[in-house]
Amino acid sequence: MPGLSINSITKRFADFAAVDDISLSVPDGKFVCLLGPSGCGKTTLLRMIAGLEEPTSGAIVLDGDDITRVPTHKRNLGMVFQSLALFPHLTVGENIAYALRIRGASKDDQRKRVDELLAMIHLTGFADRPVAKLSGGQRQRVAIARALALSPKLFLLDEPLSALDAKLREAMQVELRQLQQRLGITTIVVTHDQREAMTMADLVVVMGKGKILQAASPIEIYRKPADAFVADFIGITNLLPAEADSAGRTTVLGAAVPGVALPTGSAKATISIRPEDIHFSSPGAGAIAGTVSFVRDLGGTVETFVEAGGTTIVAVATPRERPNVSVGQAIGVVLPPESCVVLQP
């Protein structure tokens, strides 16, 4: 069975479980993002897959072989570290060729493979440069090329782009995704940046407190977050209280939202609705009554903040869609039922 599967793995440090009984199956050739706030156990999970950390219990199976107790250097994987960990005493070419040198490849083979990899990362001709003379983005590419030198079965990256500035990071995300698609290599990236996860991943695994909160495709995580934590962590969302009125209809902040059913047996719940899904109307029946408290016009998008029933609702639209909103205006907020997600309590 090709691919990576993680079977109820746990890692305890003294009295606290960094990774708590996690199971995950990664099909061959897929790009997975482990996403979560710092301290959620995502890096520990990655390090266990790499063999740099020994699991307290559980098993890691790669292509049908149990590799839980296989030492790192026999696992056939490539890893990019947060610090990049390029060897400072070696040149770009020697860094990339390190894995080949360890396995006793001939000088010619090493050079050929290095040239191939340098072409892949658009750094042809950089082989003889010292690592210290590279820019941040170039180091990043060299670290990626070094990890891929042996065409490993598994490509692991630990917050690989965190040292780059915002623009370069966005460009590298696209490049990394395209590279992974071209090579078809099973890839696992640890990140705390939800944009990064949305850009690159086939499968986003949101983690919190050592557990998986939701594992699904990026768009499903965005559209159908499992709980308030996931909804809030991925993008911007409005978390609003919903309750059933005397007639059994669901209402949010005093306005009926037909077609949204609360979980059976409960009279209260939280719903999540994305800012871009919110519509405005003139104040009146069927809409939440609110007052515009702030307008942030960013040129490409307009964010409107509406005070309603003691909470602030954020709505996003293009300036063309929403031209005439001003602070202090009384307004009606409409929640399209199909965009409301009732969260598990």
Partner: protein, 284 residues
């Protein structure tokens, strides 16, 4: 922190005091010593001012040549032993918990508080026939009867390595603590066994530190004076012992001064060599 090149004389003010101390306590005495090394010895009294090379010419005798050679060899050996022992030790120490590291470092610092005399006599007891470690070996059946391990070259070497080891560890420690642990992990993910990764990555990444430490211990051991006399035979005596002998017992100040100048020159040459090696590394 912003650094600006000093502009006015006042910017150099903080240097005045250390410069003064250096001149009074180093430059002046050392200049006098250099001058004396060219003086002529007066067997009846002390020495008479002159400018002769006789004192330096005496180095060319086999006796002084061999003592100098032995001193250099001993210092090199001490430096190599210290770094070979201290480097893996310090590396493993930095992998322990904070508390364990503190205990070890405090212990090492307390060794530094021992004077050379105490270290010398402690080892001479440990290496003696009557009360030494060989009695322990006899007790556990490794040896038939206790033997004296001194005076000998190995006793001198052991004593000097013991004395220099804490310095070596304390010099290596900051560099090893700052070493990025992911370098080693990266090497392991690329297929290097932990031992191989250590020699491929940690050692070369710290090459400058290692060379600097070697030089430091070498210079430190070159000045060793007491331990060779307490633990060694006369054939194990170093140039420092000879200098003292000439200066105090033979009253031959000019010759002693010449030897001292020579010793300082060798030390300086080696420090210069390290700096040169360091610069070459940076230029790469």
């Amino acid at each position: 922190m912003r650094r600006e090149p000093p502009r006015s004389l006042a910017d150099y003010a903080p240097l005045f005091f250390p410069a003064l101390m250096l001149i009074v306590f180093f430059v002046v005495p050392f200049s006098i010593m250099i001058a004396v090394s060219f003086f002529k010895r007066n067997p009846a009294g002390f020495y008479t001012p002159d400018f002769v090379f006789d004192n330096y010419a005496r180095f060319l005798t086999t006796f002084f040549g061999s003592v100098l050679g032995f001193s250099l060899l001993l210092a090199i050996l001490v430096a190599v032993c210290c770094v070979v022992i201290a480097f893996p030790f310090t590396y493993l120490l930095t992998k322990r918990s904070r508390a364990v590291q503190t205990v070890w470092l405090v212990g090492l610092l307390s060794v530094l508080s021992l004077s050379e005399v105490i270290i010398g006599f402690a080892w001479s007891t440990l290496f003696s026939r009557t009360a030494g470690i060989t009695n322990l070996f006899v007790a556990i059946g490794l040896m038939k009867e206790p033997v004296a391990l001194l005076p000998s070259f190995w006793a001198v070497l052991t004593g000097m390595v013991y004395q220099a080891l804490p310095y070596t560890i304390l010099v290596l420690y900051p560099a090893l603590v700052r070493l990025d642990p992911t370098l080693l992990e990266a090497a392991r993910t690329l297929g290097a066994s932990p031992v191989r990764a250590f020699f491929n990555v940690v050692t070369p990444a710290l090459r400058n530190t290692i060379v600097a430490t070697l030089i430091m211990v070498f210079v430190f051991a070159l000045g060793s004076y007491l331990l060779p006399q307490i633990l060694g035979r006369p054939s194990n005596w170093t140039l420092s012992v000879l200098i003292t002998d000439q200066a105090i017992y033979q009253s031959n100040m000019p010759f002693a001064a010449a030897m001292a100048v020579f010793l300082v020159l060798i030390s300086l040459a080696l420090v210069g060599l390290t700096l040169l090696a360091g610069r070459k590394e940076n230029a790469l």
